[in-house]
Symmetry: C2
Subunit: 359 residues, 2 copies
């Protein structure tokens, strides 16, 4: 596996593998370096997996969950020689460390709990296999969920020729499969009737202008990048027929936590009378959160926002506040697309039903 | 005049001179380099003045107008040896070149027309003096207008402890005096009762995190920089008591063209039930524009947005659209502060009256 290669200048070359396991090592595509170069971070310990998530080498709620699963599988295989008790303690510590890497995405905690459950339920001799098999199951299910979400989402977007998305929700964000909201757009574009895909750049990490633009380019679709601040007026000008975004956590009442800036797009869409769709796997739903107020919102370091401009001593001169997510009230969401189909308001009942049917 | 010096690490050191004339040369503070260094671009010809404006070494509608005035005065003094006819032709060409440097700000065209009128009305022997005197008058009037706007605006902000502004509307944007919207905030802060000033960074030029943050820091006020995309949710969360922004052009019906992103703030303010004020000198009003549809909106090169990420060949791979301004319908504007006082809806009548009283 080449650790660094320059992205080829040709489109339709495909997205590089996001998460790969080789010889009990997890290779994590460093998304901070895209689109200029394809570089992998290697992880063999829980600290390295947590660091890959915290530093945003890997990002996107489903990809973070999958990274945690594959990372725990690697730790399990590397700890196979331990005594049964030591192995369980080791895995519990690893799980705790990885689960704490980022607070907002629902998938991370859910995946880690699922792996710990499998570990605790398995007889001592099959614990390693149980962890590895659960990680594989997370991957397979996510791939199937993405395929279904892309298809359902594309159906919803039929006849809408000018689309807008936000942040990145393609295969880079899910780690496997075709992504969620961006998967729906790419699927919809197969009809040949999508004329424009608006991509706000998504400061400061630039998930839009770096990652979504890259994925669209790889899919042979020419994106139109705009400043985040331009999105509301582009929507108000009647230049967008539908918006579809992902989610990091969806509360029981349909409130959606997603990349900071999502709320402003939803409000503009509502004023302009165009649909605002959210596409996300069921693993994103958290009925333990009654509404937005109960979703923890990560505040990242202001350094990511201002250090480049003000230098390392920025904190002595100015303050900076960089919440990584905001919350869009369910009333602004036209529909939520998940692998079980399309949920429409009122959301509390629709979400309860779809999750109950799952169990 | 030192051409480059590093900004001192101490606050309250004052803003460096924005526009200076020395020995028939116009020195233009290069705002692209702030806050890291204080560098001046020198202009002795109309092309150099136009380039300083187009390249955004100087920006802000009133500062652009003042730069044009002082630039034309320099060209006039350097052309004093010409024959009367050649002098007029030279000045007309210079005026045309400078007026075309940027399309949206109302002040630029108005100032250039005023200088040409003075030129054409003056007897041949006093033409140079007429141009220089008119440029000086533009400067003096702007300084007085800024002082009045800051005071009127501060009165309007009384009792509002957490303020938000956008882009830069301080002395850097007016070139002289204390600015408009930011002047009002700095004036309001003298009461000691302003607790927070939210400053969206204003991509891609970063007028917020570079210039407004710098001016506030120089004034001894600690700004809080946020991503542009975070502003709507910070407003929705009840963290802002009032918003005050500037304007690049105000139509006869009260529609306001201002930095791209303003519309999204106005909409969020309206939903949150907080006042959204516009502070601008009368030179910003253009009753020749009936409404927003008649205001020309400058589209700057997409390279400013994506070249850093995608490299010079970006255009072969992706599209980028960077409108420099958007339009906020007058219905979202709580009041407009100008040097004649505070205008309230309905704007068509209020604007007609204040401009009529002026003449």
């Amino acid at each position: 596996l080449a650790k660094t290669r320059i992205v080829p200048a040709k489109p339709e070359s495909g997205i590089p593998a996001v998460l790969l396991v080789r010889q009990d090592t997890l290779f994590v595509l460093d998304q901070r370096k895209l689109p200029r170069s394809v570089t992998y971070v290697t992880c063999t310990t829980a600290s390295e997996v947590a660091a890959a998530i915290t530093s945003m080498a890997v990002r996107g709620a489903p990809a973070i969950g999958l990274c945690a699963a594959l990372g725990l599988a690697v730790v399990a295989k590397r700890s196979a020689h331990m005594s049964p008790d030591a192995f369980v303690r080791k895995m519990e510590r690893a799980a705790g460390r990885i689960a704490a890497a980022r607070p907002t995405a629902a998938d991370l905690g859910a995946v880690v709990r699922r792996i710990l459950d499998a570990l605790h339920e398995a007889p001592p001799k099959t614990r390693v296999d149980a962890v590895v098999a659960t990680a594989e199951a997370v991957k397979t299910e996510l791939e199937a969920a993405c395929a279904r979400i892309s298809q359902e989402g594309a159906r919803l977007l039929e006849g809408r020729r000018r689309l807008m998305t936000y942040c990145n929700t393609g295969s880079l964000a899910t780690g496997v499969g075709h992504g969620t909201a961006l998967g729906a757009i790419i699927e919809a574009a197969r009809s040949g009737k999508v004329e424009k895909v608006w991509v706000p750049e998504t400061r400061p990490y630039l998930q839009g202008s770096r990652l979504t633009a890259f994925e669209l380019w790889c899919a042979g679709i020419r994106p139109t990048v705009i400043p985040d601040s331009a999105a509301p007026s582009v929507i108000a000008a009647g230049e967008v027929d539908a918006i579809v975004v992902g989610a990091d956590r969806i509360a029981a009442n349909g409130d959606v936590a997603n990349k900071i800036g999502t709320y402003g797009l939803a409000v503009a869409a509502s004023l302009a009378g165009i649909p605002f769709y959210v596409a996300a796997p069921l693993s994103t739903f958290d009925i333990g959160c009654r509404d937005a107020a109960q979703i923890p919102i990560e505040a990242r370091s202001g350094a990511e926002l201002v250090q480049e401009v003000w230098g390392k001593a920025w904190g002595r001169r100015i303050s900076a506040y960089y919440p990584a997510f905001d919350v869009t009230p369910g009333e602004f969401v036209t529909a939520i697309v998940c692998e079980e189909g399309v949920l429409e308001p009122p959301y509390p009942g629709a979400i309860r039903s779809v999750l109950a049917a799952r169990q």
